[in-house]
């Protein structure tokens, strides 16, 4: 097994997109998710790792060997495409065995390894069937088995669950994670779905406009987003943002004249963006918590919780609470000042706490 190292990788497109000066190290056996909105360069990065696209500058190494696109590099990676890219004129068996047949592996060994990787991928269908006769989930398993059959060190996946329906997606997500643990393979997985990303990743790479915004574990990304972009992109319902003013002579932050009782960090700008996650707003009173008065505008039932859309003065605010409230009601919400996020509005970077 070998590490994947990406160094100062740049590839720009005439449209203005691409990736710019990206460096990244993926440990052997790690599940890394590239997360970002469409057009952020995550797929371009993945395709360069795969060797399908060549960088303008920078390098990609697997286990110390240099050169994406070279034979040794291609040998150590496999890829699962968004629409699976199965060969429609071949049976499932022929699809899975294709990489082995290209390498002139002996017939009995092909047979054995195809069955082995089909089993690992949880594929139970008759291998003599054609892809068009399979369901979306089965096709996904065929694609996975095909990627696995030549035992690559790294498996790349491009939005590999995006074309499946929601229920199948969540069950396959679990299986995929389990599969990665069992096989010990390195995974690089591209998605724009933050729920999927948080669930799968050992480490997340959040990307924006061709650059890495933040790298970290799912918990770290969620609890301590290093930029306003990451804070807004990860988490559902999305984080609330307020423009807060610093009270004169080192006082606390106020939003629309309401005192948030948050001490701004030293040398912070006069205006600060305060972020609070909807699930950090609660209806339970607590001594240490700050209370704010809101007027409920509408309520959405989301199954386990209620998402309350309300107004704090003139500012819209979302809260996720456990009890039902009525529209039009006046409500007191409480938040813990340790769980707020402070950003510099001019740079978007985190300034505290």
């Amino acid at each position: 097994m070998a590490d994947l190292v990406v160094r100062n990788l740049t590839r720009s497109f005439p449209s203005g997109g691409g990736v710019f000066d990206i460096s990244l190290t993926v440990q052997s056996g790690e599940f890394v998710v590239l997360l970002g909105p469409s057009g952020c360069g995550k797929t371009t990065l993945l395709r360069m790792i795969a060797g399908l696209e060549s960088p303008d500058s920078g390098e990609i190494q697997i286990g110390g060997g240099n050169g994406a696109g070279k034979a040794a590099h291609r040998e150590s990676i496999a890829m699962v495409f968004q629409n699976f890219a199965l060969y429609p004129h071949m049976t499932v068996f022929q699809n899975i065995s294709f990489p082995l047949r290209l390498r002139r592996v002996a017939r009995e060994e092909v047979e054995r390894r195809v069955r082995e990787s089909a089993a690992k991928a949880g594929l139970t269908v008759d291998l003599k069937r054609y892809p068009r006769e399979l369901s979306g989930g089965e096709r996904q398993r065929v694609a996975l088995a095909r990627a696995l059959v030549r035992e690559p060190e790294i498996i790349l996946m491009d939005e590999a669950l995006a074309s499946l329906d929601a229920q199948l997606r969540s069950s396959l997500r679990l299986e995929l994670k389990d599969f990665q643990r069992r096989t010990g393979r390195t995974f690089v997985y591209v998605t724009h779905d933050q729920v999927e990303a948080l669930a799968l990743a050992d480490r997340l790479v959040v990307m924006r406009k061709g650059r890495v915004e933040q790298v970290g574990g799912p918990q770290e990304i969620f609890d301590r987003p290093q930029s306003e972009f990451v804070a807004a992109f990860v988490g559902n319902p999305p984080m609330n943002f307020f423009v807060a003013k610093r009270a004169p002579n080192g006082g606390s932050l106020t939003v629309d004249g309401i005192d948030f009782k948050i001490r701004p960090p030293e040398r912070s700008p006069a205006e600060i963006k305060v972020g609070i996650r909807p699930n950090d707003l609660s209806m339970e009173a607590d001594e240490r918590r700050v209370a704010i008065e809101v007027v409920v505008e509408s309520v959405e039932f989301s199954g386990a919780t209620y998402v309350v859309y309300a107004k704090l003065g003139h500012t819209s605010i979302r809260a996720e609470v456990s009890r039902r409230v009525e529209a039009g009601a006046h409500l007191t919400l409480f938040f813990d000042t340790a769980r707020v996020h402070l950003f510099d509005p001019s740079t978007g970077r985190r300034v505290g706490p």
């Binding site: 795969a50 060797g51 399908l52 291609r74 040998e75 990676i77 496999a78 890829m79 495409f81 968004q82 629409n83 890219a85 199965l86 060969y87 429609p88 004129h89 294709f98 990489p99 290209l102 390498r103 095909r146 030549r150």
Partner: protein, 273 residues
């Protein structure tokens, strides 16, 4: 129904009838000639239906040695040229479907070749074939090469849409699986475009089967069927010529009957969704 739409319907009917008669009448006359005794063929006023029937023309056609070898030569030339043209046309079509530069160059070249008066290249071609030593060869290989060259645009245009319809992802998957470009072309692209490949083969086959001009020039003595038919007619053998002409239609009829629906589909493939 008002008078106007009635008149329109009548006009439409008349036009359809005219087209059908114009297409079918020569075929009928041909069929009639082929079973009418030589003397009656030139009767005046002409007979619309034969008064005497004979199979002599067909029998004579099969008895002549030259004819048998011409049938085999025509089949061989058509098959070989269709295979070459389809393979090379497929490569061109694939390049056109995958690269915008190739598409621009390919489309202009292909339509340029079609606009070129073929007779303009006939003499140089003849000289080249003579130099190489395959002019008027008994196997017809020289003519097969010429026919292949003529048919490449037809093959390429037929296959272009088929290759363009294959998702790039599938080729990329094959590349990552370890396949070389030529391997991808042979094991992924060709099988996936097989319906269009069949169409291209048939179209190229028919193109060669009834090509006359180059066949007349290149196969001076070792003739294929169209020049042979021409000589039959020129020398006044109207009966055998008609029988031969009728026999030459067999491949085309087979294609239309057997592959009609499929052919209609692939001939218009890609023109609409």
């Amino acid at each position: 129904m008002n008078i106007r739409s009635r008149a329109l319907a009548a006009a439409r009917f008349a036009l359809s009838a005219f087209v059908i008669v114009a297409a079918v009448l020569p075929l009928y006359l041909l069929a009639k000639q082929s079973v009418t005794p030589e003397l009656e063929t030139f009767a005046w006023p002409p007979h619309w239906t034969p008064h005497h029937l004979t199979l002599a023309h067909f029998i004579s056609v099969f008895e002549v040695n030259e004819l048998r070898s011409a049938v085999l030569r025509s089949l061989g030339v058509a098959a070989v040229s269709a295979a070459i043209a389809t393979l090379l046309g497929a490569m061109l079509a694939h390049a056109m479907a995958r690269s915008s530069i190739a598409q621009r160059i390919g489309l202009s070249t292909v339509s340029g070749i079609r606009l070129l008066p073929m007779i303009a290249v006939a003499i140089p071609l003849g000289i080249i074939l003579a130099t190489v030593g395959i002019y008027d060869s008994p196997s017809g290989i020289g003519l097969a090469i010429v026919h292949a060259a003529i048919a490449i645009p037809t093959a390429a245009l037929t296959l272009y849409a088929a290759f363009a319809a294959i998702p790039l992802e599938i080729e990329e998957a094959a590349w990552i699986d370890g396949a070389s470009p030529i391997r991808i072309f042979l094991t992924i692209d060709l099988p996936m475009a097989r319906a269009s490949i069949a169409t291209a083969l048939i179209l190229c086959f028919i193109l060669s089967w009834d090509e006359f001009g180059f066949a007349l020039l290149v196969q001076q003595t070792n003739r294929t069927l169209p020049p042979l038919l021409y000589y039959y007619t020129v020398f006044g053998n109207v009966g055998p010529a008609s029988a031969l002409a009728l026999l030459m239609m067999i491949p085309a009829v087979c294609v239309v009957v057997a592959l009609g629906p499929a052919l209609r589909g692939t001939l218009t493939a890609g023109s609409s969704r």
